[in-house]
C-alpha cells in the first residue's frame, strides 16, 4: 500500500515536471451541445459554428472578437457610391484542405449554392439582397445588390456564408473541408471532435498543433473535467453557480464576456389571452429581471428591455418601461378580463437559464394570478413543438444570433407577431447605410418591441468562460457563435 502511494506520488511529480518543461501545444475545449453535423452552410445549430467557424471554414469577411468586420478570404473590397456593387479582391495562395485551390469560381459556387431555390442554408435571408454574383477574373468577385444593404459585409462574415469547394461540399457534414488554419481530423460521435493544424494555411499559421472539442452536456461532469485537467477551457460554462469556485481556484481564470444571447420569455401571439397587449404588459410588469438573474443565473447576465444586446452602440435602455410591479400587473389583467386568473403553458428547453429561469418566472407569474403549467422538453421537441408548429403559450429561450432583431419582421416566426409599424422601420433599416440613421432606426425598432411588449425581455446571457491559467488568445466575448482558436497559445 505504501509503495503504491510512493509510486503514485512519483508519477504525479514526473508528470508535473514534464508538463511544465515542454510547452503545451494542444488544447481541449469543452462544449455543451454536440453539433448535428459540421456543415455551417446547411444548418441553424450554433454548435456547428462553435466548432468550425474561423477554425475550419472561412468566408470572404469574418467577424473579429470585438464584433468588427475583418477581411478574410477577400483581402480587400470597394463599394460603389450607390452602395449596390461590392468588388472583392481575393487572397493569393489559398487552398482547401484537400489541396484544391480557392478562386473566384469557388465564391460563385458557394454563394449560388446558398441562394439556390433548394438551398438548405438556414439563413437564406443573408443572401436575399444579392441580385447577381460575377467573377471577372480568378481573383475578383463582384456582387451586385437589389438595394443598398447596411450590414452586408457583416452578413458575409456569418458562419452560414463561408466558402466551400464544389469538390468537397457533399461530405462537409461529416468530414468538412475548408480553407481555415485547422483541418478536420476526427469526430468520435458523442465524445469529441478533433482538428489539427493546417500547415499549408495562407495566413499566419496556428500555434497549436491540435485542438479537440469535448462534448460535455452535463454541468457537474464539466466541472469535474476541468478540475481533473481533461478539459482546458470551457468557453461558455453552463453552470454559473460554479463560477465562484473556479474564481477561487488559482489554476483557473474566469472570463466574463458578452454574448449576443437575448434571453426572452417568448409569447405566442396566436394564444387568445396573449394576443391582448394588456396581458403581455401585465406579464412584463410581473417579471422581476434581477430576481431571475440572481436566482437562476447566480448574478450572471445583464437585464434587457427589448430584443437587443446592451454592448451594441445602438442599444437603447428600455428596462425601465415595465418596472416590476405586481399590483399594476394584476390591474392590467383585471382590465383584460382575467381578474380570476389565467392558465398558461410554459414550455422549457434543457439549458439551466430556461429550466431554472422558468421556475422563477412561474413563481413571479403566480404572484399576479397567472398559473403556469411547466412542460420541460428536449431540444428536438422544442424545435418541433414551439419553433415549427408553435404549439405553446410561453417559453424561455436565448436568441444567440448577432443582430437578430429582424426576426420580428419575419412572417410566421414562432411568436406569431405582426406589426406594420415594426416592418416599416425594419425595411427602412435594411436600406439605410449612414451609421447615424441606422442607429436611430435600430433604437426605434427596439422601442416598438418594448411598447408592444411582444415578449418578456429578460436578460442578455453572459459568456462565462473558465480557462486554465496560461492559455492566451481566446475570445472572452462572443460576437458570433464561434470558438475561434486560431490565435490561441499557451504561455
Amino acid at each position: 500500500m505504501k509503495s503504491k502511494l510512493v509510486a503514485a506520488a512519483f508519477l504525479a511529480a514526473t508528470f508535473g515536471i514534464a508538463g511544465t518543461a515542454a510547452a503545451k501545444d494542444t488544447l481541449t475545449l469543452g462544449i455543451g451541445l454536440e453539433p448535428p453535423h459540421l456543415d455551417p452552410t446547411a444548418g441553424a445549430a450554433a454548435a456547428i459554428d462553435e466548432v468550425v467557424y474561423a477554425n475550419v471554414f472561412e468566408g470572404l469577411t469574418r467577424i473579429g472578437s470585438d464584433g468588427a468586420v475583418l477581411p478574410a478570404l477577400a483581402s480587400s473590397w470597394t463599394v460603389s457610391d450607390d452602395g449596390l456593387s461590392y468588388r472583392f479582391t481575393l487572397r493569393d495562395g489559398v487552398a482547401f484542405h484537400d489541396g484544391t485551390s480557392f478562386d473566384s469560381a469557388d465564391v460563385l459556387f458557394s454563394l449560388n449554392r446558398a441562394m439556390a431555390e433548394d438551398s438548405t442554408n438556414a439563413q437564406k435571408g443573408l443572401f436575399e439582397p444579392i441580385a447577381t454574383v460575377a467573377a471577372p477574373d480568378a481573383k475578383t468577385v463582384v456582387i451586385t445588390l437589389k438595394r443598398p444593404t447596411g450590414h452586408f459585409l457583416f452578413n458575409l462574415g456569418w458562419g452560414d456564408a463561408v466558402m466551400v469547394a464544389p469538390e468537397s461540399t457533399e461530405n462537409n457534414k461529416s468530414a468538412p473541408v475548408g480553407t481555415g488554419p485547422f483541418s478536420f481530423k476526427r469526430w468520435a460521435k458523442g465524445a469529441e471532435i478533433s482538428l489539427s493544424r493546417n500547415d499549408a494555411y495562407w495566413g499566419e499559421k496556428a500555434k497549436l498543433s491540435s485542438v479537440s472539442f469535448k462534448i460535455m452536456p452535463d454541468a457537474a461532469a464539466s466541472a469535474a473535467a476541468l478540475m481533473s485537467g481533461d478539459v482546458d477551457v470551457f468557453p461558455n460554462f453552463g453552470a454559473p453557480e460554479l463560477l465562484e469556485q473556479f474564481r477561487a481556484d488559482p489554476r483557473f481564470e474566469v472570463m466574463v464576456g458578452t454574448t449576443e444571447g437575448e434571453t426572452i420569455l417568448s409569447m405566442n401571439h396566436a394564444n387568445k389571452a396573449l394576443s391582448d397587449i394588456r396581458v403581455r404588459r401585465a406579464i412584463s410588469h410581473a417579471i422581476d429581471r434581477q430576481a431571475i438573474i440572481d436566482g437562476a443565473m447566480f448574478g450572471s447576465g445583464t437585464p434587457i428591455g427589448s430584443h437587443f444586446a446592451p454592448h451594441h452602440p445602438a442599444y437603447v435602455d428600455l428596462t425601465g418601461m415595465y418596472p416590476h410591479d405586481p399590483a399594476k400587473a394584476k390591474a392590467l389583467l383585471a382590465e383584460a378580463g382575467y381578474a380570476n386568473g389565467l392558465k398558461l403553458r410554459l414550455t422549457l428547453p434543457p439549458p439551466s437559464y430556461a429550466r431554472r429561469g422558468g421556475e422563477v418566472v412561474a413563481a413571479q407569474l403566480a404572484a399576479v394570478g397567472i398559473q403556469t403549467e411547466i412542460i420541460p422538453v428536449e431540444w428536438a421537441q422544442w424545435l418541433e413543438r414551439v419553433f415549427k408548429t408553435t404549439d405553446y403559450d410561453l417559453t424561455i429561450v436565448s436568441h444567440t444570433e448577432p443582430f437578430d432583431i429582424g426576426i420580428y419582421a419575419r412572417d410566421k416566426y414562432y411568436f406569431n407577431y405582426t406589426s406594420d409599424r415594426f416592418n416599416k422601420v425594419y425595411a427602412d433599416l435594411t436600406e439605410a447605410v449612414e451609421p447615424e440613421k441606422r442607429n436611430a432606426l435600430i433604437g426605434e425598432a427596439q422601442k416598438i418591441l418594448a411598447e408592444d411588449a411582444v415578449n418578456g425581455f429578460l436578460f442578455e446571457l453572459a459568456q462565462n468562460g473558465v480557462w486554465r491559467k496560461g492559455i492566451k488568445g481566446l475570445w472572452a466575448n462572443r460576437p458570433v457563435q464561434a470558438n475561434d482558436v486560431t490565435g490561441a497559445y499557451w504561455e
Binding site: A219, A220, A223, A239, E241, L242, E244, Q245, A291, D294, G295, F298, R356, G358, E359, V360, A362, A363, A366, I374, I375, P376
Partner: protein, 297 residues
Amino acid sequence: MSEPQLLTAVPTRTPFRRRAIRHPGFVLGGAISLLVLLTAILSLFWTPYPVTELNIAAKLRPFSTTYLLGTDHFGRDILSMLMVGAGNSVLVGIVAVGLGVGVGAPLGLLAAMRPGLISEAVMRASDLAFAFPALLTAVMITAIYGPGTVNSIIAIGIFNVPVFARLTRGVSLSIWQMEYVSAARATGVPPLQIALRHMLPNIASPLIVQATIQFALAILAEAGLSYLGLGTQPPQPSWGKMLHEAQTMLYFAPMLAILPGASIAVTVLGLNLLGDGLRDLLDPKLRGGSKRRLSST
C-alpha cells in the same frame, strides 16, 4: 396425534405485541416509517414556509433558527421542501403499491383457483412484464405519456402488478390444496367467498411483508424518475428533484444534496427494516421459535 401438538403449540406463542417490541429492526423500521408518514400528513396542513414561493434574497442560507435546515438556490426553506417531498413519496408509495396489490392479488388468486388457460395467461403475462427492467420501462412510459407525478405513479404501479400476482398465486396454490378449502368447495361455497373468507386471510402476511418492500422500491423509483426530470414537476418539490438540482452545487452547498439523499436512504432503510421485522413476526414457522427461517426448517 394432532391434539397434543396443538396444546403444546399454544403456550409457546408469545403475544404479537410483546414479540414486536422485542424486535429491534421492527421497532426502528416502524419508528422511521411512522415518522415519515406523520411528516407527510403534517405537510398537507402545515409547513414552516410555503414551498412554491421563491425568496431569492434569502438564497443558500445555512442552518439557522429561522431556516432550520437552510434554504436552496431559490431561497426556499429546505425543511418545508423535505416535508412536502415526504408527502410526495408516501403518496407515490401508497398508490403504486395499492395498484399492485389491487390488481395483482386478485389476478394471482384467480390463477391459483383456475389452473389451466387462465393461470397460464396470467403467469406468462407476468413473466413478460418481469423481463423488462422496471425503471427503464417507467422511463419509457413517462417519455410517451409525458412527465408528471400521475404518470410516474402509474408507471411504477404497473410494475407492482406482476410482483403481487406471482406472490399471491404462489402462496395461494398451497392453501388451495388444504383440506378446509377442499371442504368448502365440496359443500358448494361460491369461489368468490372461498377466496375472500378462506384464502385471503391466510395469504395476507406475505402480502403485507411484500408491500412494505415494494413501498420502499416505489419511493426509490419515484426519486429516480424525478432525478431524471420525468417524475414530479416543478414547482412541486420532490426528493429526487432536489437531488438533481443540488448536483451542480455540491461543491459549495453539499447539504442541498445530502439532506434529500439522506431522506431517501433513511426512509428506504426504515421500510426495509419494517418489512424484515414483519416477515419475522408474521411467519408462522418462526413464531416463538428461532428468528432465522433457515434454522427453523
